[in-house]
Each structure stands twice: as C-alpha cells, then as structure tokens.
Amino acid sequence: MKNQIYELGDTAITIEFGNEISMEFHEEVIRRFYQFQTNPLPGTLDLIPAYTSLTIVFDLGYVASRFQGLAGMKTLVEEKLAEPFSAVTPEGRIHKIPCLYEGPDLAAVAVACGLSESEIIRIHSEKEYQVYFLGFLPGFAYMGTTDERITVARKETPVTIQPGDIGLAGNQTGIYPSTSPGGWQIIGRTTTDLLPDGLPLFQVGDRVRFIPQRS
C-alpha cells in the first residue's frame, strides 16, 4: 500500500502506512516517528504514533503565516518521506511485568474462549507483546497482538477499572495506569507503577512480557 497523507482538521497531518495491524507497517511508524522527532518540521507541536499511522500536529498560526498552511506542510511531509533518513531508532526496552491472574473477568473470558482459566493464563503470558502506541489515558499502552485463541470482545457497558488492571480487547492487551471507566475484559493485575514520577513507563517500540505470580 502506498502511503496515504491527509489533513486531520486544520492543525494536523496524518500519514497512513497501512490499513491493518502488522509489524511491517508499525516498524515504519516507529522509524518515521524518530525521523520527525530528530528533525522536526517547522511548527511541529506533537507527533502521535498509532498502529499504522503517524500524526504531526502543527502550530496553525506559525505554518499558516510562513508555510502556506497545512497544504504547504503536506508537500514538506511528502518530501521528507521520499528522502532516505538517518535517524537512529532506539532499540525498545523489554519490560517484565509480574501479573496476578485473578481478574474479575478471567472466568468469563475462559468460558467465551472455550478454554480453562489456566490455559488463558498460559497463552497470555507466553507471548511477548509490542507496545504499539500510547493513548486513551496518560501512559496507557496499546499492546498486541494476542493469540487468536484468547480474542474477546469488549464489554458492552464500561465499568470502573483500577490502576494496574490487565485487560483484553479484540487482539489487544493493556494495563490501566489509573482508575478509569473501561470496557476491556480484566484478567489480572500488576503492582508495577506504570507512571513512575508521573511519566509513562512504556514507550512506543518497547516490548512487554507478563510473568504469572502466585497470590
């Protein structure tokens, strides 16, 4: 798929590298994230990576008065994407997260998947997950992809979820860094602080392993 570049309102440009969750597309997101972070385009306020896209948020006043607005920035983005780039992509860190698999939805997930609880735990903890991006809440990492045997739908009605709760949704897994309403199926929890000193523990490009603990 050819890159799709489009305007997101009047302040941002999104570059879409693909239309399905895959490491090939996502590695391109990470590379370009570091490229635009190392050599930011003028007026850049934020870079927001996601599964297959990277969004650049601009200072509207700045780019409108100096660069023909977003249309001008779009041309610059295209030029940058065509150039070979030399930005160093940091090797992501590997996090080992102790997990107590005693979540309120573990039994329901087991039933929905037609597996035993211990099989859910084994399948969830034997895979290394990619931190695709952070969103939803400060420090909330979208990780995946989970084994298709433990793919579950979100809850229809969100409930209150506690910090450290580990959930499943579709082929994604994630840990809630703070109390929030949420629709993910909670299968476990961790005592690891996801916002040490107020900053997210996980960064885009990191990898995560869940280590089952006994209570």
């Binding site: 489009y6 305007e7 997101l8 309102g9 009047d10 302040t11 941002a12 999104t14 879409e16 239309n19 399905e20 969750i21 994230f33 306020l45 934020d46 870079l47 927001i48 990576p49 996601a50 599964y51 297959t52 896209s53 969004t55 948020v57 509207l60 006043g61 409108a64 008065s65 607005g69 977003l70 249309a71 991006f133 952070l134 969103g135 939803f136 809440l137 400060p138 420090g139 909330f140 990492a141 979208y142 900053l199 997210p200 960064q203 885009v204």
Partner: protein, 287 residues
C-alpha cells in the same frame, strides 16, 4: 485570590500544552481559548498565562491584594462587592474585594485573569475607561467544519442532514466532548477503523449514528470515523454553547480556517499591545 466558596467546576487553565501526546497525555487547556487570551490581554499578562475558568454555579473569590482583573467569556452577571461589573473591561480592585457570579445569562464558561498591582494601592473598585468588544471577531454564524477522512462513511442524505439540520447539545457534554442529538445518521460503510490520532474539534461518528465533537480535554487517539472537524477558530464559540442549545454546521475550506485563526490571533495580540500601552499611560496620569 482566595476561594471562599467552591464553584461546580472551577479550575486554572492555560492554553493547551503540547509535546506529550505520544505518551498518551492530552494537551488539555481552557475550553474557550479566545476568552482566556482576551482576559490575559486586558490585564497585560502574557496571552498563555493561566486564568480561572468557571462554570455556573461559579465559585466566590476574595482578592487578597490590589489587583487588576478582567472577566471574559460567559455572562454570569459577575459582581464585585455586590455591584454588577462589565465583561471585557479591566477593573482595579482593592484587597478584600469579593468576586461572585449571580446568574447564568449567556455562555457556558467565564474566564477571570488577574495581575497583582505590586506598586499601587487601590482604595476602591475602579473600572478602567476602555473595553474590548470581540463581536467583530466572533460571529453567530453556523459552526464551520472541514470534511474529515471518513466523511464518505456517511450516506449522502446524512451528509445533507449534517449540513442543514439543527443539532442539539446533549446534557452529558463536558470538557472532553460534546454529544450532539439528531435522528441517527446513516453510514454507507461499516469498515472498522484502527485507532489513530484525533484533535480538538474532531467530529466522530458513534456506532449509534450520533455525533460527538472532541473538545479541549479529549483523548489523544480514537477509533471512530472522523467525519468532520470544527475549525480551530470556531472552537471557542462552540465552547460557549451548552445543553439545551442547538447549532448548525456549514462546510468551509482550509484557507478560510487558516485566515480566521490568524485574524483572531492578530486581534488578541493587538488588544494586548493596546492594553499594555493604556495601562502604562493610565498609571502615569495618576501618579
């Protein structure tokens, strides 16, 4: 300024703080950034300084020092020591003055900027003899939008509805987003989307067929179709609309969006320059 009675949702707000969205941390900031900056401009602060944002019922505050204050945004019938005072006009107040808001007349959020008058003892409330009426900058026209990436997810008849019908603002609207009420819009495509970035002003189409407009405290990413975007220059106006009100959308183009934004920013900068000059002259006249 000391809080003597808590308001419903009083908070100190500045302009959005960017640079952390890749960590899932939204830029936040005041809802009506125009009134926020205008209040700062009137008292000679930097435009991005923090100001008090209040909803109704608003808190009651006591000034502890001689202060220059400006009240902008919603008309909540603001009073200083039980005397009604105008919006959009700098006012000098002595220590002990009480600021209170009596009733919601129009708008949703009021902004109060203050600057301590360190080398001036104010003995009575004094309304400065100049004001700024931003009517020429903020219109009552429909809210202007740009087409979003998934505009075509709407059936043609629903695109027509979006651009011609009144949308009521739901009571569950807040700083994160405004839910709009209309007959459910119809989708032409049900292709599920992968989550990606959203911005303030993004109009998402919920699976129910209803629309939600993301406001200042929006999340950094979302997975619903982005059918349109409110232009940045019209977000302050939208922020002053609330439940029981209705609005209309009209399509515009990026050039207009950019022009309107620059026009507003230039206006605010001019107000700041003029006020700084007038304040310095005023001090000179009276000493």
């Amino acid at each position: 300024m000391k809080n003597t009675k808590k308001g419903l949702f009083d908070s100190l707000q500045s302009l959005p703080i960017f640079g952390l969205q890749h960590q899932g941390i939204p830029p936040g900031g005041g809802m009506d950034t125009f009134s926020l900056q205008l209040a700062n401009a009137l008292v000679g602060n930097d435009l991005y300084d923090k100001v008090l944002e209040m909803h109704f019922p608003a808190g009651v505050y006591e000034f502890e020092t001689s202060t220059l204050v400006a009240i902008c945004g919603a008309d909540f019938s603001a009073h200083l020591d039980e005397v009604p005072v105008p919006l959009n006009q700098p006012i000098k107040v002595p220590p002990g003055t009480i600021l209170s808001c009596k009733k919601p007349v129009s708008g949703m959020r009021v902004y109060v900027a203050t600057r301590e008058l360190k080398d001036e003892q104010v003995s009575r409330i004094k309304i400065m003899p100049w004001s700024m009426a931003p009517e020429n900058v903020l219109s009552n026209d429909p809210i202007r939008i740009l087409c979003g990436r998934e505009w075509d997810h709407l059936k043609a008849c629903s695109q027509q509805t979006l651009l011609s019908k009144d949308f009521a603002i739901s009571a569950i609207s807040n700083r994160m987003g405004y839910q709009l009420i209309q007959a459910p819009l119809k989708t032409a495509s049900a292709t599920p989307l992968l989550s990606s970035a959203v911005t303030a002003g993004t109009i998402q189409l919920l699976p129910s067929g209803q629309l939600v407009v993301l406001m200042a405290a929006h999340q950094t990413t979302g997975g619903y179709p982005r059918v349109a975007h409110v232009i940045s220059a019209d977000l302050p106006r939208l922020a002053q609309m609330g439940p029981k009100e209705s609005l209309r959308f009209t399509l515009t183009d990026p050039m207009t969006a950019e022009y309107e934004w620059i026009f507003q920013q230039n206006y605010l900068q001019q107000v700041r320059n003029v006020c700084a000059l007038k304040l310095s002259q005023h001090r000179f006249d009276h000493h």
